[in-house]
């Protein structure tokens, strides 16, 4: 199967974000990604798009989030770009430190990093590319 790519521009709206996630997951199913991969990718997409809407665009409905994806039988790459000022992921506190464990927020970036193979930010920090290789089949 050849590579398939696509893109979507959504307003800062969580329902629209879910539609895009569903669209990408449906495409991955047609490429026979495993359930385990689907779990990882859906979670990373949900976290990345939520961050773009909430922290990047600060829920401003006049601002958009652009999502671009490319899927091949070997891997998926998705780039999520918001209209915010950007951030430096190095400055985030470690949510797994004992004193931070009971904070309600701040775990999205950690989960994205753990579930994806590669996570690349642009210099401004308002655009994130996530890449996941297809796992060997579970047979």
């Amino acid at each position: 199967m050849k590579m398939k790519s696509g893109s979507a521009v959504i307003s800062s709206d969580e329902a629209a974000a879910l539609d895009v996630q569903d669209q990408i997951i449906e495409l991955l199913e047609s490429f026979s990604f495993s359930n385990r991969d689907l779990f990882s990718i859906r979670l990373a997409l949900a976290e990345a798009i939520t961050n773009a809407i909430r922290h990047g665009n600060r829920m401003d409905p006049s601002k958009t989030v652009t999502i671009e994806w490319a899927v091949s039988p070997q891997q998926i790459s998705v780039t999520i770009t918001d209209e915010g000022a950007g951030f430096d992921p190095e400055t985030l506190v470690d949510p797994t430190e004992e004193e931070n464990l009971d904070r309600p927020g701040g775990r999205g970036v950690l989960l994205i990093q753990n579930f994806m193979d590669e996570v690349i930010y642009n210099d401004r920090g308002n655009s994130l590319q996530i890449i996941k290789q297809m796992s060997a089949s579970e047979s």
């Binding site: 979670l43 976290e47 464990l101 309600p104």
Partner: protein
Amino acid sequence: MATSRRIDVEEVGEVTIATFVDKKILDENNIQQIGSQLFALVEEEGRKRIVLDFSNVEYLSSAALGKLITMDKKVKASGGKLRLCSIRPDIYEVFAITKLNKLFDIKDTQEDALQGF
């Protein structure tokens, strides 16, 4: 905004079992509703021993973890206890990566969660 029931609540002796209805706990509206319905168990209904059953849940985001942490604080503040159970391996990994498996009392099955509670 219409609010639908996000948790099924049943009582076994003095323990309240709250089972999540949704497969995906990912979007903000849904998570807000789940938070309000969980917090009401403690703040409005005064329940002290609560088991959260995840057997239906296939996806869970970090925002949902935030609600669980707040729930745990509320239950402890009221002198109660909270346990989580029936978490599938993919989701357990989310708890393990974030080290929240240390913060929460997690049991394999509902039966284990009720044992000695």
